[in-house]
Symmetry: C2
Subunit: 259 residues, 2 copies
């Protein structure tokens, strides 16, 4: 079973870029970058010394791995154009089942990094959990072997398991980040300096990691301080969506107190 | 105007404990700890070498500062028992107006640390923003001077301003932490290891601090990936409260995309 060396990265967004960089650091070669957004493709191809194409019909054949790093919808549009047959084809999505690939190659899998990526932000890939799935045991072995070159935290997870973990990740990352977005909106809407919240954001995450989030919870909802909760809801009355969010999360924290 | 040296701390919970420790490190003396929970009062009194009482009628008179670190409701119950007249009396709440103190002393103020505290967790108080309010300029000067001994980030904020900042802090800290709690619930409910999310939680906070939370946002709602959102809502159908939370925050992220 030859190891994976030459990789075609399809999609030059946050995930495609960070994975390409990580593969390269692990000694792989990025053979080609394919994507729809010209500037992003050019940028990633130049960073990784790879060939590039905007035409998915021109994707190189017979490479060791084809890594799809595209949103759900784009993936479905692009797959029929790739013209692969037995090349190892994987996607990087937490929630898309492996089966969507089965019409496009006989060797398929999933290579899901459990992290939030931004194009220009380096991450320590060694600490990023990578969840692997494959349609055959030999493909699984090849993907596991590649994943171990990148990360210390590799495991196998089927599509159902990966979906559940993805939902948890949405709460832990996308939704917690959105709470910062709303906090910023509240601060700046009142002409306050958002940076004032920086030590609080930092400490909240550190506490949750070190004490566990249940032990770390503080605030009016945790204390079930009805007067303050009522006052906050009243102050949010000009923004009904934000008020509704405050009400729902507060209720959820109070329910958790009882659990 | 004599500087504040001898401090009575009323309330031996998270805030009372961390503030007492910080005052002591700044060279102040904790004269007495008063509170309702015997074990907590004893513990803080012993840590700070202070006298202690469970009877609010026995609070020492004529000290330089009385710091109330109590929930809203408890504060109102306890204030009439203190028997102060002109001693400098402050509370530490983000949302309680300074005026609640005005019947209990002629010298009042607020000393609000913008941070999440837990009894046994040290924080770098130098980085904690402290918001000061006082009923008279001489009291403000005394509180500012004390606050500057603790922190590099001291400012004056009236009750209305402080309330708004407190709501933003609830989103940035209490609500983001609750997202971690829900993520943990989702992981453990499926027998997955919650620690798998640790690198994600760490990176999410770091990204938001370094790039700003708007630039840092990722995920299905940010991409408006309707198929994945629909799939997640379907997978959450056995927990209607969680499903509703997912729906509402997703909608809020999508609205933010348009802003």
């Amino acid at each position: 079973m030859p190891e994976i060396k030459n990789i075609v990265v399809i999609g030059a967004g946050n995930v495609g870029t960070r994975m390409a960089m990580a593969f390269q650091e692990a000694g792989c070669r990025i053979a080609q970058v394919a994507g729809r957004r010209e500037a992003a493709v050019r940028d990633l191809a130049s960073r990784s010394g790879a060939a590039q194409t905007l035409d998915f019909g021109n994707v190189l054949k017979h490479q060791d791995l084809y890594l799809l790093a595209l949103p759900d919808k784009a993936m479905k549009e692009i797959l029929p154009n790739l013209g692969l047959s037995d090349e190892l084809l994987v996607h990087t999505s937490g929630s898309v089942p492996m089966e969507v690939l089965s019409d496009y190659s006989v060797n398929t899998g999933v290579f899901y990094p459990l992290q939030t990526f931004s194009t220009n932000r380096q991450v320590d890939m060694k600490e990023v959990p990578i969840l692997i799935e494959a349609n055959r045991i030999d493909n699984e072995d090849r993907l596991l072997s590649l994943a171990h070159k990148l990360s210390r935290k590799v495991s196998v997870a089927d599509s159902k398991r990966r979906q559940r973990i993805h939902i948890a990740a949405v709460f832990a990352s996308n939704f917690s980040n959105h709470m910062y977005v709303l906090a910023r909106k509240l601060m700046e809407g009142n002409d306050f300096d958002y940076d004032m919240l920086a030590p609080l954001i930092k400490e909240t995450a550190s506490k949750a990691l070190e004490m566990g989030p249940d032990n770390a919870q503080t605030g009016p909802a945790k204390r079930e301080d009805d007067e303050i909760i009522t006052q906050h809801l009243e102050l949010l009355k000009d923004d009904p969506a934000l008020q509704e969010m405050y009400r729902l999360i507060t209720k959820s924290i109070i329910n958790q107190n009882k659990a």
